[in-house]
């Protein structure tokens, strides 16, 4: 193979592939990327077997061919070159890639293309289109609540595509974040429910402007934005029945000013226990008291004015849960609905227009 392209063009693609290629070194080939040069374009593929990405760009192509090379080394080489530099990549079926840029020359060992795992071909038929910007802010609202642990089905967010809406849901077993957006997809026969891996969502967040096109087959999800396509294996398990745990009629309602509340929670959390971040809330008429203590450091108290008319309730929460959610919503007021100190509480930004969020938090016994 032989092609020439400017540093900037290939560097962008290599950079984005850094997030995809496997870093833990379980299978050495997964640290590689696949370069496939056809007569019209150069296609680069990276995968960790769960999430793959294919991207392509046009270049001055002299000879076609396919090899795999270390994703990290190639990225580092491209990055080290001077700006605007034209770079020539050449390999003569001897598994030695020669990279020439001005006076710089590199020879990098390649592996045969047959060793590289097959990444599914994406197909786009359903025409499900989501604007990148909105999808990104939806992901932001669920991303923090995705569990990092062994319960596999939770290691991603549930995506529900209905004819008139798109929903994302995530949970770590102690809290649940839900966001939905109205869309018009009249062509969808019935609803699609799939779990999207955390890594995939993180990669989608890196997409810049434009629209995302989504489709799926039996095993994979496809997200295309411009010349880049993510191919993500479907997480084969059942997402918990989230509708059942969203409280429907919590009787005690509290209206909070988001800024005031989050600032108070942040202050009090400074002296909460390192790991659990437990903060005790005491609800009184039009007042919310916060208290935390850590036998090793000390204690903190705060109180803020709120709109509340219900009975006195004492309830413990993980302060981080509030901080995570309230940092990504934008409304001025937040509605907080409670039942008692052992039941789930619900947070809802008041007066959201485009997106509709709900956040369910379980209390903690302090």
């Amino acid at each position: 193979m032989k092609f020439t392209v400017s540093k900037e063009i290939i560097l962008d693609e290599l950079q984005i592939l850094q997030g995809i290629v496997e870093k833990r070194n379980t299978m050495p080939i997964l640290a590689n990327i696949l370069l496939n040069v056809t007569e019209n374009e150069v296609e680069i593929t990276g995968t960790d077997l769960e999430v793959g990405m294919k991207t392509h760009f046009s270049a001055n192509i002299e000879e076609t061919g396919t090899v795999t090379v270390s994703g990290k080394k190639f990225f580092e080489i491209a990055k080290s070159l001077p700006d605007q530099q034209m770079v020539t990549f050449k390999e003569n079926n001897d598994l030695m890639m020669q990279v020439t840029a001005g006076e710089s020359e590199f020879k990098v060992l390649c592996l045969p293309k047959d060793d590289y795992p097959v990444v599914a071909e994406a197909k786009f038929e359903k025409k499900i289109i989501i604007p990148v910007k909105e999808f990104r802010s939806m992901i932001d609202r669920v991303f923090f609540a995705i569990a990092q642990e062994q319960r596999y089905y939770l290691n991603g967010a549930l995506m529900v595509v209905k004819p008139k809406s798109l929903e994302l849901v995530s949970t770590d077993g102690h809290r649940l974040s839900y966001v939905s957006k109205k869309i018009e997809q009249p062509d969808i026969p019935k609803e699609i429910r799939v779990i999207v891996a955390k890594k995939t969502l993180n990669e989608i967040r890196k997409y810049e402007e434009g629209d995302i096109e989504f489709d799926l087959d039996e095993n994979n999800l496809f997200f295309r934005c411009g010349h880049r396509t993510l191919i993500s294996r479907i997480i084969e398990s059942k997402f918990p029945n989230f509708e059942a745990v969203i409280p429907k009629d919590n009787p005690h309602i509290l209206m909070l000013s988001r800024d005031t509340f989050i600032a108070a929670v942040r202050r009090v959390a400074l002296l909460s226990a390192e790991r659990s971040k437990g903060v005790k809330f005491t609800l009184e008429k039009n007042r919310l008291r916060l208290f935390s203590s850590n036998p090793e450091i000390g204690e903190a108290r705060d109180k803020i004015d709120v709109e509340y008319k219900g009975p006195v309730i004492e309830i413990g929460f993980n302060a981080q849960y509030f901080i995570d959610f309230l940092s990504v919503v934008e409304t001025e007021k937040v509605r907080f609905e409670l039942k008692d100190e052992n039941s789930a509480a619900l947070l809802r930004p008041e007066g959201e227009e485009n997106l509709k969020s709900m956040y369910v938090l379980m209390p903690m016994k302090i």
Binding site: G173, S276, V360, M362, M364, K365
Partner: protein, 476 residues
């Protein structure tokens, strides 16, 4: 006043910086008063104790009255003399005055865990293979020992210590550090309290103990070494250097046989001989260990005590009387250990985020399997269910019998986040509390699961402690 000593686990470099800084916390002995007293030592203090690049600061520190007894820590190190052997003598006075070796019979595999002072005269020491001990001391009395009994003596020992101060670090079954600094308002005189403590321990346990008193752990331990056996030694303020000078080099912890060989080649026998060596010289010879030696040889140590206030983990394990293969009996052991473990968790008001099961096969291969829990647990039913799965996952299908099982709870927390997908229930907690109450009154063995009851056939049962396993809860 802070509830905890100000430093938890500073790095070596950090420790050095703090130990040398003139304005350190309410804790440190920095060696300067002694240095200020003798001009010979002054040079030493300048080049060694004070790595400060600013000579003026170092000078001011050496000549000024920087050492204030009020800020001195008061650390007591207590060590039971020849613990297991002493207990055996207490139980069988006929053994008194005889060379006694506890650990096993002469022909058995294994090592001497303790030997009496009489046996030590023959060159026998703990850790020595029983066979070797027998060769050195054929007239010695060898006994297998009874850990259950030692454990109960040990508990009594620690009970007495904890009456004096809550800041007790149990370093082993028969050895502890006490920090009286926080109790300074309670006692008129620390040395008097330390002497009283020694007398009280001896009165209540019938065992003789050695006590070392100093401003930090390393010096206290070295002082105990001087006090042994059955003595009391206090390193008085300002006499640290005088004390250290003549201490044998191998008394320093961390100086093993290999280091000793090198020391001998360098003609270093006493701690005082080390003072001529610069920090970098020690570092280049002994690496990181050299940094440690440098600090220790100057009596610098501001490690705080590791008290039981916040354990990292709780574990219970046991070896079997003979290797086991019967899965029902093995699970009975797992259940019993879980029961003891969850009791300890409830006592400490802890929930565990991680449950771990350990098995050791007949060929001594050890395997561990752990599970991370989304909702932390501490009740018997939950912990046993997890431990059982882990155990069967580990051992299931194995062709080898086992010689040990253990369960461990770690990543402990005092709060319990509730789960979204499990309905809230405090049934398990209430059950645990109820069982604890019954046991409080009628003994641990009064409530057991059917699975645990299988151990009836194997082990004797003690009213208060439940089954008397081979090595019951030797791990603290």
């Amino acid at each position: 006043m802070s509830n905890r000593p100000p430093f938890s686990s500073p790095s070596t470099r950090e420790r050095r910086r703090r130990a040398a800084a003139p304005a350190f916390g309410p804790a440190e002995f920095d060696g300067t008063p002694a240095a200020a007293r003798s001009s010979g030592a002054r040079r030493l203090a300048l080049q060694g104790i004070s790595p400060s690049p600013d000579p003026a600061a170092a000078e001011a520190k050496v000549s000024g009255p920087s050492f204030r007894p009020r800020l001195r820590r008061f650390i007591v190190h207590v060590d039971i003399d020849a613990f297991f052997a002493a207990v055996e003598v207490l139980l069988n006075p006929a053994l008194k005055g005889k060379p006694l070796i506890v650990g096993g019979l002469p022909h058995e595999r294994g090592v001497a865990s303790t030997c009496s002072y009489e046996a030590r005269r023959y060159g026998v020491h703990s850790g020595m293979a029983l066979r070797t001990a027998f060769k050195l001391c054929p007239q010695g009395v060898f006994v297998r020992g009874n850990y259950q009994v030692y454990q109960s003596f040990s508990e009594k020992f620690f009970d007495v210590l904890r009456r004096y101060t809550p800041d007790v670090e149990a370093t082993s079954i028969d050895e502890a550090y006490l920090d009286f600094t926080r109790c300074r308002r309670l006692y008129a005189s620390f040395p008097a309290v330390a002497r009283d403590l020694k007398a009280q321990v001896e009165r209540e346990t019938g065992l003789s103990v050695s006590v070392g008193v100093a401003p930090n752990k390393i010096l206290a331990k070295l002082a105990t070494g001087r006090a042994k056996p059955a003595g009391y030694f206090e390193i008085e303020p300002g006499r640290e250097e005088e004390f250290l000078r003549d201490v044998e080099i191998d008394r320093l912890p961390g100086i093993g046989p290999k280091t000793q060989v090198v020391m001998r080649m360098l003609n270093i026998k006493k701690i005082g001989d080390l003072w001529g060596m610069s920090e970098s010289a020690l570092h280049s010879i002994f690496g990181l260990g050299g940094d440690e030696i440098y600090l220790q040889s100057r009596g610098l140590d501001n490690r705080s005590l590791v008290t039981e206030a916040d354990p990292k983990s709780v574990s219970r394990e046991t070896t079997f009387l003979q290797d086991l293969w019967d899965s029902r009996l093995l699970l009975a052991h797992v259940a019993y250990l879980c029961d003891r473990l969850t009791l300890a968790l409830r006592e400490g008001r802890y929930y565990a985020h991680v449950i771990e099961v350990k098995v050791r096969y007949a060929d001594f291969r050890t395997e561990v399997r752990r599970r991370l829990l989304v909702v932390p647990r501490r009740e018997m039913t939950d912990v046993y269910r997890i431990a059982q799965e882990l155990f069967l996952g580990l051992w299931g299908g194995s062709r080898l019998p086992l010689r040990l099982v253990g369960v461990k709870a770690s990543d402990l927390t005092r709060v319990r986040p509730l789960s979204l997908f499990e309905p809230y229930s405090d049934r398990q907690e209430r059950l645990g509390t109820a069982v604890d109450q019954v046991r409080e009154k009628f003994g641990f063995g009064s409530v057991l699961t059917i699975r645990e009851k299988m151990l009836d056939e194997v082990y004797p049962k003690d009213r208060d402690r439940g089954f008397v396993l081979k090595t019951a809860s030797l791990t603290r």
